[in-house]
Amino acid sequence: MNAALAEARPSNSAFDVEKVRADFPILSREVHGKPLVYLDSAASAQKPRQVIEAETRVYEEEYANVHRGVHYLSQAATQKFEATRTRIASFINAPDENEVVFTRGASEAINLVAFSYAAHFLKEGDEILISELEHHSNIVPWQLAAQRNGAVIRAIPICQDGQIDMAAYADLLGPRTKMVAITAQSNALGIIPPLERMIPMAHDASAKVLVDGCQAITHRPVDVQAMGCDFFAFSGHKIYGPTGVGALWGRAELLEAMPPWQGGGEMIARVGIEKSTYKGIPHRFEAGTPAIAQVIALKDALDYVDGLGMGAIAEHEAMLLDHAVRRLEAMDGVTIIGTSPAKASIVSFLLDGIHPHDIGTIVDREGVAVRVGHHCAQPVMEYYDIAATVRASFGLYNTLAEVDALIASLEKTREIFA
């Protein structure tokens, strides 16, 4: 089936990957004397010069602290800063830009909801469902919240193909379910859960849904209104943006009901020594000086991917994934973990008799950067009773030749272990 899909796709699509690669300075470097083959975008994506230059421009041309000043630079920086909020809202089709809260990244966004929503609106015995596919960042914050309020964490199991066990999910949902925290795409396996069915089911049970959009947002268009979730979290650094910035989107009526989490400058209306009043959303959740230059440059990252077109990116990456899967399947002793067809841009696998860690070290000497380990998703590893996998993840700048380089480096690994 993968082969059929790949052949159905025109080989010379409108997507000009060589032109794209020229935008990413790091891609022309060598590693251990070999051209860099960067297949670790799921951990963090490389940055186009448009983004790098945007951050530089802030510091060189219009930098000041935001929101508090009447002077020119402060106004200019504030305007650009807020323009990113507006851009994010349009990028994920949020109804209102004030529903977009800036955070350090997806992890902080999920912690915000866990502290401010879960810790206040969940009571002892209420249940939080999280799937076995989740990244630790969508597990541990809920555990910490549950420790505080006596809520109970329940796991939505997965099936052998890495997909959500929908029957088990249906069984788990009940009157006690108050929150479902689910990834829009597994970072460990690439699997895409059927959110279009899962979210309505959660809402039927009157639960709220937080979607971890960290991976999904980099690979295909996101529309939070169509998706119907209540919260959506993502990180800038995975979508070709700077480090140190991410965002939470939440429905206004939920955010407005939530108490502040962190305290500091920016988020207050009036401060007395003993008591303070807080601003409205989104500022109530943005304590202290934000990641100003990074927020501003995040807009350029979104503009960049939008300029290429999320649809075109998805198609290009699907081609890479199909090619990788076909070539891996053609190798002896390869086991792909997570075989559900609902999958994008990521392939996790094992090589018989060779530990992923050893593979990672060896292919690195060929210039190939893959991730080996548990990918911050230990429950997935536990399900398959493995400690680690090798994960190749593709970004918009990868090529078919790079997939071939990966395969060649795996062949070398096998020679060493022969």
Binding site: G353, I354, H355, I362, V372
Partner: protein
């Protein structure tokens, strides 16, 4: 590729594939679990320590990369029959050696000499933890700590 051939020498691949003393002795009186959170690997080291402080038996179970398995396997061969103290001292020198703090040329110590096959790890700083996990876990077991993590 030379660095790689140094790292993955025949002896290491052999120990990695056919680890010695890979078992759970029923009469072990000490044990500890060692975790390498980076890759999710986990080993258990079992020791039987006699009244005289002698390591009468040492074995291990678990999973890990070729380096950590080989290092564990070789460790069980080398420290069996040694005193606790001697085993700790050996780890100390081995540790200094793989972290590049000490140079070891040839045969000043027969046990260390056996471990020289692990020297290749010096070129791979991320893998030093793999080479030392079993040893950290062994000393934890001696100290009566049951879990150890190398971060």
């Amino acid at each position: 590729m030379d660095d790689l051939r140094d790292l993955y020498q025949e002896v290491i691949l052999d120990h990695g594939k056919n680890p010695r003393n890979f078992r759970h002795p029923e009469d072990a009186n000490r044990h500890a679990e060692g975790d390498n959170p980076l890759c999710g690997d986990r080993l258990t080291i079992y020791l039987k320590i006699g009244h005289n402080g002698l390591v009468e038996d040492v074995a291990f179970e678990g999973r890990g990369c070729a380096i950590s398995m080989a290092s564990a396997s070789m460790m069980t061969e080398i420290i069996a029959g040694k005193t606790e103290e001697a085993a700790r001292a050996l780890f100390h020198r081995f540790h200094d050696f793989v972290t590049g703090k000490e140079e070891i040329e040839g045969a000043d110590d027969e046990d260390l000499e056996k471990l020289i096959v692990l020297a290749g790890v010096k070129q791979f700083p991320m893998r030093v933890k793999c080479a030392t996990l079993a040893w950290h876990t062994m000393t934890a077991a001696m100290d009566g700590e049951n879990v150890v993590t190398t971060e």
